[in-house]
């Protein structure tokens, strides 16, 4: 029953959720994010919208696929993990879904006494939040790995340069020895 209601109202849920999420950006930015629809001129909007839609569809399913959930969460969080947000600000959007569902379906839920399914649904959203935390940490770890990777690449390049020098020095030494032997 709740699921039917949800799928009927999917588009307004997506829209409201997306709107709330965009409001976490500075006003001047959120309007740009909303207005500019070119996926290459405004990758943030496009990618986050894809993520939101995907998550909505997954949560509508009987049992969501963890891989799909992670993939859609990743779309959104990968961006927010590098933007100027604290972890709580970056991830609060997951909980917005609760607000949105109560907002959009509040009347129907009360009329049809769907509180129990609602609680179940909300605990699934909580689960999604936990997942989101993992994804966020994964992204942050990736950034640090990229940092370390860059330092490592430089160090490795420096080592290799040193190796090349040592190899050349050895060669020169050998050459000297042969020539001095020849001289003897």
């Amino acid at each position: 029953m709740l699921r039917d209601l949800l799928s009927r109202k999917r588009s307004s849920i997506v829209e409201k959720w997306f709107d709330l999420l965009l409001e976490t950006y500075p006003e001047d930015t959120s309007k740009f994010l909303r207005r500019e629809k070119d996926p290459f001129a405004n990758p943030v909007r496009n990618t986050i919208l894809q993520g939101i839609e995907g998550l909505c569809d997954e949560i509508l399913k009987e049992d969501e696929s963890p891989e799909a959930l992670n993939a859609f969460l990743d779309k959104i969080i990968r961006i927010r993990a590098v933007q100027d947000f604290s972890p709580s600000q970056a991830l609060a959007f997951v909980f917005f879904l609760k607000t949105v569902i109560r907002d959009v379906l509040g009347k129907e839920i009360r009329e049809n006494h769907l509180h129990e399914p609602l609680l179940l649904l909300e605990s699934r959203i909580d689960e999604m939040a936990l997942r989101a935390f993992d994804v966020y940490m994964g992204c942050r770890e990736e950034i640090y790995e990229l940092r370390v990777g860059e330092v490592k690449r430089q160090r490795e390049a420096a080592f290799r340069m040193l190796e090349r020098s040592e190899r050349a020095a050895k060669k020169r030494l050998e050459k000297q020895e042969t020539s001095s032997r020849d001289a003897d």
């Binding site: 006003e27 001047d28 959120s30 309007k31 740009f32 629809k37 070119d38 996926p39 290459f40 001129a41 050349a168 020169r172």
Partner: protein
């Protein structure tokens, strides 16, 4: 807030002209002295600005290149986007000034549903051209309106004025005939103003100095339209006044109506304000080094008038510093 300051300033100016003419009887001031002063300020100010820019040297050729350079003969170059000589640079500038080429560049991509493509969507390219259109309409209408006004400044009226009037009033709506440019002008200025309010990015960057000219222009256009279509002023006397001004024999006929003086005063303010504001972009664009230079740096040497010698680590010093290492590596030395 910035917009309010600007609106307030324009309203105050209108009141000033109205009260000056209707109650204080300062017709001579507003009909002769102010126009002369404004034009003087304009001429001196703009000359000063342009001279100031022109006397600042252009040390480097920093063309912004927007297309394939001219290189190998079989590679197609884009001379208008990457001009390789002065002629093409001038054409590029003409395209910029006459057609606002760069503003037109805002290509947009959207995903349109398409069953044949992967994911059911295909890419559609389009040009987001409202800013371009608004700006273009605004500037061209301004030009035509200005030229139409030559009927007040010339006797006999120059040939292009009736031509423009005919074209502009082509649809022959109403009496007197409605000029399209007047309407388009107000619409375009309205759009540019609205955009400053509604587009958050633009609102964020807008200063009082951005709103002020827009309100001023609306005031000018508004008073002009009122004069032409609603509260008629004595056109013969207006022309008498204008011809007097042009011929340096100012006469200020009685009974023209204060609306005219408001109109004239706002125009004077615009003209006098011009050199001190961003409106000088009109003159500035011709001097913009990224647009008015050819992209031929490698073919023709550009001279920097203040080029000065700098501290360079010369080869001799360098060889001295790394001598041992050069010898060890078996690399030749200049100083044996």
């Amino acid at each position: 807030m910035n917009a309010l300051y600007a609106l307030f300033a324009v309203v105050a100016l209108m009141l000033l002209a109205f009260l000056g003419v209707s109650t204080a009887d300062l017709n001579v001031l507003f009909g002769a002295i102010v126009p002369y002063a404004a034009v003087s300020v304009f001429l001196i100010g703009v000359s000063y600005r342009v001279l100031k820019w022109a006397t600042v040297p252009v040390p480097f050729r920093i063309t912004t290149v927007c297309g394939q350079e001219k290189s190998l003969p079989w590679i197609k170059s884009s001379p208008l986007e990457s001009p390789h000589n002065g002629v093409y640079a001038a054409l590029r500038m003409a395209l910029e000034v006459l057609a606002f080429r760069s503003l037109f560049r805002n290509t947009r991509i959207s995903l349109a549903p398409d069953e044949k493509s992967i994911g059911g969507k295909r890419i559609v390219y389009s040009s987001n051209f409202f800013l371009w259109l608004g700006a273009l309409a605004f500037h061209y209408c301004f030009l035509i309106i200005l030229l139409r006004h030559f009927r007040f400044f010339t006797e006999p009226v120059v040939f292009f004025v009736p031509l423009l009037q005919d074209l502009d009033g082509f649809f022959q709506v109403g009496v007197p005939g409605v000029y399209m440019t007047g309407l388009i002008f107000v619409a375009a200025v309205g759009y540019l103003l609205l955009r400053r309010f509604s587009n958050p990015q633009v609102r964020y960057i807008s200063l009082a100095a951005d709103y002020f000219p827009l309100f001023l222009l609306l005031g000018i256009a508004g008073s002009g339209i009122l004069m032409r279509y609603f509260f008629k002023v004595d056109v013969v006397k207006v022309k008498e006044l204008m011809m007097g001004l042009i011929g340096f024999h100012p006469v200020v006929p009685d009974g023209i109506g204060s609306l005219f003086y408001i109109h004239l005063f706002l125009v004077c303010v615009l003209v006098a304000y011009f050199p001190f504001s961003k409106l000088v972009h009109m003159a500035g664009i011709f001097l913009s080094p990224t647009r008015n230079m050819a992209n031929d740096n490698r073919a023709h040497r550009h001279i920097n008038p203040w080029n000065y010698p700098v501290d360079v680590h010369t080869y001799e010093d360098w060889e001295e510093e790394f001598k041992d290492k050069l010898i060890a590596a078996g690399l030749p030395l200049d100083k044996g």
